[in-house]
Symmetry: D3
Subunit: 249 residues, 6 copies
């Protein structure tokens, strides 16, 4: 059974710490995913996979970070983003709290490419901050990002199923995964067969000019819930292995 921090008591966490110092944070985003993709896609995928990994590895799963770094999507209604400097503070606060109790291995299962750079910056800022505090073993703290969509097995399947119609945002693979998780929330819309790609990512206004319906080179109409199930299983398997290996480091 998956062990969610939210559904545990503090004495149970104390017990957990006696046998493991690892914890998993699902981190997603709240951002447009094209005409048919769910705004919560990245958080939904990260959370589902994190729970799967938690089940497989008996890891404690922290509450999902639903809002990440998605400033470039903020010309599309409904997108919410933290500034990178805010997200750095958030990660620093989270890890510092938990390091005081003895947690040392923080694994972020990530559903959004736009989070990666800021997460890495946040890890550096956090290690440095911890060194100034008087926390035993704080120089043993290690953070790592596991991007489900960049798992080798996931990538391979996406290429097989969709070829270049996978694109790079509002992709059929992530849409498929949300269809598997929320079969009642499958959306349809007439998607233009022409879809912009390769125009870079800069300001929010520029992004909307470059990618008018929010997709980046993708054809999410190819997604099916069954594909989603396959992606889910591959990602859980691969990230579980990676988490266990990380724990040993």
């Amino acid at each position: 059974m998956v062990m969610l921090l939210q559904l545990r008591t503090w004495p149970e966490v104390e017990d957990y710490l006696a046998r493991s110092q690892g914890i998993i944070f699902p981190i997603g985003s709240t951002e447009q995913h094209g005409p048919t993709g769910l705004i919560g896609t990245d958080a939904i995928c990260a959370e589902a996979i994190a729970k799967g990994v938690g089940e497989a590895t008996e890891a404690l799963i922290a509450p999902t970070i639903n809002v990440g770094m998605a400033l470039h999507h903020t010309s599309f209604p409904g997108s919410i983003s933290l500034r990178p400097s805010t997200l750095i503070r958030v990660i620093n606060d989270y890890v510092t709290c938990l390091a005081r109790y003895g947690f040392t291995h923080f694994f972020f299962i990530n559903g959004h490419g736009g989070n990666i750079a800021t997460l890495k910056a946040a890890f550096s800022e956090t290690y440095y901050h911890l060194a100034d505090l008087n926390i035993p073993n704080c120089d043993r703290v290690r953070c790592r990002v596991g991007n489900w969509f960049m798992c080798g097995s996931v990538y391979k399947l996406a290429k097989e199923l969709y070829g270049k119609e996978e694109g790079s945002h509002a992709t059929p693979s992530e849409v498929a995964l949300t269809q598997y998780i929320y079969p009642d929330a499958i959306k349809t819309a007439s998607l233009s067969p022409e879809v912009a790609s390769g125009r870079g990512i800069y300001s929010a206004a520029d992004f909307r000019r470059s990618y008018p319906d929010g997709r980046m080179g993708s054809n999410p109409a190819l997604a099916t819930p069954e594909h989603g199930r396959q992606f889910y299983e591959l990602a859980v398997k691969e990230l579980s292995d990676r988490y266990l290996e990380f724990l040993k480091s």
Copy 2:
């Protein structure tokens, strides 16, 4: 049916904005709730009630803010907190993004007393920040907190059921509500009949000295899932009315 931002597309949000400029944010905390209370209690309660309010009022529900201002609980393993200055930035970032699309009424359904002061500070900071931007109608933005546990009807029932054993943290009312929502996660432990109360809230170290098992004057053993259902219904009713009234302001 409840309308979750996470399960919507951006064109759907655009449609929603044409008929309403209100949005509801559940905000909780990730903090110890005594020997038997769930660490996620405040987030779980806020989220469940917010969904109920969303159903009743057709309001859009934003993703839950799971981690709030709980620094005083951070001597108990598993508690996670933002610093107030971080939470102010988070709220500012959220509201600023959404104000750009035309949202004007932000209703925070809150499950944690410790969030209230920082939320109010954040609202002031945010209004002032918005005034510096070039957003149409930004001086019409209004934020409000609705604390489910301070609803008159909830308070009255808690007094009837538990008298002074309601206490002020890890209360039977909030525990009951989590039991109603997660009947499979009901915890038991032998609770000392003596429970500290009235010793104030200062630093985390001081808090643990004052309230050794985390409870503040409460007897959560009195909670039942059926009580939880009653609290849920009262809170949903009262906050739904308040939200609709807020929208008109």
Copy 3:
């Protein structure tokens, strides 16, 4: 005789610390108080009462924080405000300096409702910050707000004298207190008998639309210096008791 930090030498403070670790900060605001209320009302009241409490309790009185959190008043000329995030830093800096010398009990005598939320957020931020430093006894630091206008005896008298014409900003009670303190600075103006109330507090522009002359439901024309004397004495009595009790905690 009242003991003002400003009129003491550092060896005198050293002596004081040997017998008490408490200090009182008057905190007010610099903001419009309607057509006849003084812009310094909140600071003037807090300072006068703090001096009275200092006399009664032999407490050291720190210099008055004249400018607080009054962003919502900044559409009326003369109002000055800190952003909440600035005020949090100010309080943090003050308390941290004094905690290094051994002060542990910080009592803020407050004259402005708008300060309360930010002060509470600042206290949490400060306790947490202190825990990271190497200050002996820093986890014993305790901060508390005493709002003179919310003292039971003050509230009761205001209701007796003014009923609902007390209102909630530019109130006859606070105006009376400034008249008692500065009898030469009593202002008159023709006040509209209709006065806005209950329209909430949001942005500065919104505030001025809601409350065009700056009053919130009040009739300050009812104030007299003699009323002011009574409020002064009640507040000094009640807050002196509360301070002494706080010192014992």
Copy 4:
């Protein structure tokens, strides 16, 4: 009669703005001034002189900034300081609020050498910040520091009266001025005839090692209230001229 912002109403400020866009801020410090100097010396002097200047020039006087940049004094009990980065935010917040109403000339009458650098940094930060806002005439805002103790006439008199015993901190001139203002708060102590000087100003711990009783090369025992009167008059005269000239710029 001196015109204190604290004792004015907002309509009076509106009237004032119609004829002048200047305002004077007294700024001091709360810091040790040797065995006999008052902790509030710098704020007391700045405030008294600012009121004198206000009387002479009909300028509006803002509330005194009592706590400044005195980190190097924070090894002596009772000293309170803002960090430079905090003081920069405070000045920015003050000036920004007032610039919105139409104030353009901000004159800081300063009693503490340690404030000068941070004030100048704050002015630069503030001009730049204002340029980002949509405030009419914000690029006309001008801030200036007037240090009473660096007035030519003050400096000359101090040299005549005290020669090199004037020193550079806890000086007889500033002590004399406080004696003139608060004749009831004159302190005595046996001062070592040897007094450290010329050892630079670095960290707080270093400062106390260098200047064990807090004085820097000064003999405050030479001060008299009558000297204080003379310093007061010279400073008021010189700074009044400078303020009027500044207004014309």
Copy 5:
């Protein structure tokens, strides 16, 4: 001839802007590079290549950012690093100043892998910040990183010359480049044939434990100045092409 901003006048910059809105920033780091690598390696390489690119493309070259994000190296004497949150502010300040004059294309020629994540976070923060200002065309601003050591041609040559002895820090390729640029500053030391690799990058203390002499899997003894020349020419060629293409976007 290369056009260095430092050696130009402001009217020359005005002329330049009439024909190009691009500018190149060399960015490096000041950090240990093993027993024989120069502490300035990353800045030296980035600057030299940027000048080469400037010559080839007639681009304006901004002053080198010598200190970057190298917190993980700060257990080795001489390393200097900005925190990520500081570097984000630095980049934001630089780009904002230049965007006001009309620059729109910012190309960062980077010599240090540790800068990449923070640079990307900084770009996002900056675009968002610019959108709040009233700068014409600010939503056309585009920033891009060009890492010389990740150029395809450079990578290929390094593999050919050094195979897996290239490693990932204090690499023979970057050492060779500094030898070509500063032939008088070639260092030798007896390098242990065993060199740590693959142990990840976490805190500074951890880094030094993992990589005791500072190298990460590399054998810098293989470097020659002639290799350096080849790397230089390949990188200049490839980044010049990329800059010209970027300008067109």
Copy 6:
């Protein structure tokens, strides 16, 4: 031979620290210097003189801080500035890194008057920050600014050569120094014989209105490379003496 940190290895820095704990930072600015002055003037001068001082005193020279506090110049294309609050963080980060290795004496050879205030504020902020860390001898850290253009001998020569045509920005003395260092980058332009002076320094827009071609009361046409050589030698001599004296403090 001058010892540049950039051209050293970490073991060499370790050796250096065994015999000296001093380090020199050249700090300049990137800002307009009138129609003929180089934008890099302040950094070029500071760097050249610092190298000279390094040669004379065997001090380690850190990489040049090229961009300083020049917000008032940012209405002239090509000027780049940090905000004071950013520069404070930068200095804090630099000094903190190096203090961990044992450096205690930080000498900033400065080429820009506009940096002075912010540098002093930064030093105070840094000492205070260091006191919170667990660094041995951190309370021995000392920072000092040496402004080459304010050296007595430099000032005297400038007065002899140029009288009041020296002015205060884009001065012939600094231009002469850059001509000596970069004889190939000497610029000419027809300079108006009338040049603004004495109009103060406020916002960037105001600065450009006051000083339309960027000069402040100066006639840089008087500069010659030979003058530059003389300024160089005087400044190196005087600052070398001052650095050695500083080391002893």
